[in-house]
């Protein structure tokens, strides 16, 4: 198992490598079929042009319920205080495809968005701020999904 320190070191190195090689996609955040079809959190972020592992940040906020009475509709709000963010991304780790939404942070809007997503089961949910230089900073929260009564 890696320590956080090691992970951080490695991701920084990886970021430097990718950026250095000029591989950072120009329009990584235009509609991105590969990212939305990726199974894992990691692959989805990679397809969005993120290099290295995401890092937890107190400057990213995810508002979500502790328990969702029904996984069909789970309300989320994402916001950030970080500068130079180009997108806020919503990911549900255990959904068949982790990526749920990508909000572009333009100069004309506040970096603060809300929507509702389906959740197949109890899972960690991530709000990820993707910076202009391809770094990912995140907040996460576990949301429990309960089933309804009567078996139907």
């Amino acid at each position: 198992m890696q320590t956080r320190r090691q992970t951080l070191k490695q991701s920084a190195a990886a970021a430097a490598l990718v950026a250095g090689a000029g591989l950072l996609p120009q329009h990584a955040l235009a509609f991105n079929k590969a990212a939305f079809e990726a199974k894992s959190l990691h692959d989805a972020l990679k397809d969005l042009g993120v290099s290295g592992d995401p890092v937890a940040s107190a400057d990213v906020t995810l508002t979500a319920p502790d328990i969702a009475e029904n996984g069909a509709v789970v309300p989320f709000a994402l916001s950030t205080k970080l500068p130079d963010v180009k997108a806020l991304v919503l990911l549900v780790e255990k959904n068949p495809n982790a990526l749920a939404a990508v909000f572009q942070v333009t100069p004309e809007v506040e970096p603060n968005f809300a929507t509702r997503s389906k959740m197949g089961e109890t899972s960690d949910v991530y709000a990820v701020a993707v910076t202009k230089d391809g770094k990912a900073l995140f907040a996460k929260k576990e949301v429990k999904v309960t089933l309804g009564g009567c078996g139907g």
Partner: protein, 268 residues
């Protein structure tokens, strides 16, 4: 180190009984929080918009709108009509609820065949139109209190028949409406069950439908709510607008007297 872990484990065990009780309470609180988060931005508003449009638009073989429809308070009066339904209508000689009355208006004013609704499917065709219309009409009474008339003998008899239907058990599981909705403070799984033999409070029970169901993204009227209750009761299907659905509406609606209408609500 080991001793320390053991002490922690023992402490955890000691706390078990209280944690269980606490976890249960906090589950309920968390679910209340979830419900609260859904209140703003209820997709029922989409159905309200569609219903208002359907009310005002000329439609059907007679190419007429529903603006002359009498929902009990005079032709075209929508505000306040919902909190007094079901009620007796002299023109049809029947006690009618909101949906069955809308079907009557669609038939008489627009020439639309009631069969299209009665034999239709939920969420499709004219039955979906009645749902949207009912959502819009009901929303015109938001915040008003339920006060169903009981002045005519028909309405009083409907109440008594509704009460009997409410308590009548049957099907493979011996369930009636009262099995789940006859007492205060009961739950099925984690769902609170309103006591419908009396006023269960503002915005719950009869005073909450039509409501948007998040589980399937559908708008449900009271007709749809009753239909699915009977399905889960293992009863046969109640016919749309049939006498038993109206009688139950009168029984629950009269019991809900004084409850504030929260319609259209958003529900699990």
């Amino acid at each position: 180190m080991k001793a320390h872990q053991l002490a922690l484990a023992a402490a955890a065990l000691g706390l078990m009984a209280t944690t269980v009780a606490w976890a249960q309470k906090s589950t309920t609180e968390a679910i209340d929080e979830y419900r609260e988060m859904l209140q703003d931005g209820n997709p029922a508003e989409l159905f309200e918009m569609k219903g208002e449009d359907l009310w005002k638009k000329a439609r059907g073989p007679k190419n007429a709108s529903l603006e002359k429809c009498d929902l009990g308070l005079g032709a075209g009066v929508t505000r306040g009509a919902f909190v007094q339904l079901p009620r007796y209508f002299p023109d049809t000689h029947q006690v009618q609820d909101l949906e069955s009355r809308l079907v009557t208006c669609m038939s008489t004013l627009q020439g639309i065949d009631p069969k299209e609704v009665v034999n239709g499917q939920w969420g499709k065709g004219e039955r979906a139109n009645v749902t949207a219309l009912a959502t819009w009409v009901a929303a015109q009474s938001k915040g008003m209190t339920f006060d169903l008339p009981q002045s005519s003998p028909q309405e009083r008899i409907a109440y008594e028949m509704g009460k009997r239907a409410f308590y009548q058990r049957g099907g493979s599981h011996d369930f009636s409406c009262a099995t789940c909705h006859g007492e205060d403070g009961k739950r099925i799984r984690l769902q609170d069950l309103p006591n419908l033999t009396k006023n269960p409070g503002d915005g719950v029970g009869f005073a909450a439908w039509p409501a948007y169901r998040v589980s399937n993204g559908q708008m449900w009227t009271m007709q749809h709510r009753l239909n699915d209750c009977y399905r889960q009761q293992r009863f046969p299907e109640p016919t749309y607008g049939s006498a038993v659905t109206i009688a139950l509406g009168v029984y629950m609606g009269v019991n809900a007297k004084g409850a504030k209408s929260a319609v259209p609500a958003i529900k699990r």
